[in-house]
């Protein structure tokens, strides 16, 4: 019961933050609010006993993303531009209809979900019992999340690591200019300076 009430309060707080993010036009405030949003969702994950996920959310969502957003903001205007057409009635109506339909579908799907922590939920009947038993009796590793992540689902985690690697590489090529054109530009620049001297 306490868990349910706390989660409801946190959820209300999340919705409140979300409305603030949408309504605010100053980008600095939006970045800070987005960090607060991540922190509140991390608290929600702790409440649901998903400590590993909460850890990641707090470190990545509230920490690094905020810093990256702030670093990006240095070359953006301080305020969000409001499009003049966004106040038109037709646009708002179609958006409202899509939101209501999508929301109704999500609620209909959520009603069918098993309760949190239900031992008879399909997810807990397939391979989870084997993981839980084996990971301590055979591997002697108390944190099952680590065992599943690194051993049972080793291929998935390899894929995730490669995704992180590729994303980093993509940003480096785009922003830091690890390309042939950028290098030649720098070389010509330094050569030009040398000629002047």
């Amino acid at each position: 019961m306490t868990v349910f009430v706390t989660n409801m309060l946190l959820l209300l707080f999340l919705v409140f933050l979300l409305v603030l993010v949408i309504r605010t036009r100053r980008l600095f405030a939006v970045v800070v609010l987005a960090g607060a949003y991540s922190l509140v969702s991390a608290a929600m994950f702790v409440n649901l006993d998903a400590v590993d996920v909460a850890f990641t959310e707090a470190a990545v969502g509230a920490g690094i993303s905020t810093v990256l957003f702030l670093a990006t903001m240095a070359y953006l205007p301080g305020r969000e531009k409001v499009l003049p057409s966004s106040g038109r009635f037709g646009n708002n109506m179609s958006a409202a209809i899509i939101c209501v339909i999508a929301g109704a579908l999500l609620v209909a799907a959520a009603v069918e979900l098993p309760a949190v922590g239900d031992p008879n939920a399909p997810a807990h009947l397939h391979v989870a019992p084997r993981y839980l038993e084996e990971s301590y009796s055979f591997l002697h590793i108390p944190n099952v999340v680590t065992t599943v992540l690194a051993s049972y689902r080793g291929f998935d985690t390899l894929g995730e690591t490669i995704v992180v690697f590729t994303a980093g590489l993509g940003v480096l090529v785009l922003l830091s200019g690890y390309t042939r054109t950028r290098r030649t530009r720098n070389e010509t620049l330094s050569r030009g300076e040398g000629d002047d001297a």
Partner: protein
């Protein structure tokens, strides 16, 4: 911000404990929440804090660009290499049981190595992202007002 003595002192005091905490999360992931992804982000956060307070140049002196790029690739290579080592020892790809004579100990070694690889890649990607974004904007600002001002004074 960089001349504020409170920030500079706080950053100096916090830098080492953050890294120690990151290493704890990295190598204690078997027993408590955490693992390579979280530890990588925490360790990167220590270096990003250093870069924010003492400037990007000081950060680059601490972790040179070539080292960061090498770590970026080394993490994935360690992960893949553990898999290949399993194959070389007559097992399957990413089968940790064969890494040591005792399968249970082999699993331990495999998991720690793999998590280390993940942590290495995540740390350097986060650091590279920070330097790419922060350095990019610094470049742009250096190109515009300061260049013209410098040219005028000469």
């Amino acid at each position: 911000m960089r001349d504020n003595p409170v920030l500079r002192t706080a950053a100096k005091i916090l830098f080492a404990p953050i890294i120690v905490f990151g290493l704890y999360v990295q190598f204690h992931g078997d027993y408590s929440p955490g693992g390579g992804f979280q530890a990588g982000v925490i360790i990167a956060a220590a270096f990003i804090l250093h870069g924010l307070i003492f400037g990007l140049e000081a950060g680059r002196r601490l972790v040179p660009e070539w080292l960061n790029l090498a770590m970026l690739a080394a993490g994935v290579l360690i992960y893949g290499g553990v898999g290949v080592a399993g194959m070389a020892l007559d097992g399957l790809y990413l089968d940790y049981n064969v890494l040591l004579p005792d399968p249970s100990a082999g699993q331990h070694v495999g998991i720690i190595l793999v998590e280390f690889g993940v942590g290495l890649t995540v740390t350097s990607v986060m650091l590279a992202l920070f330097h790419a974004f922060a350095g990019f904007s610094e470049d742009r600002f250096a190109d515009k007002p300061e260049d013209t001002a410098g040219g005028g004074s000469q």
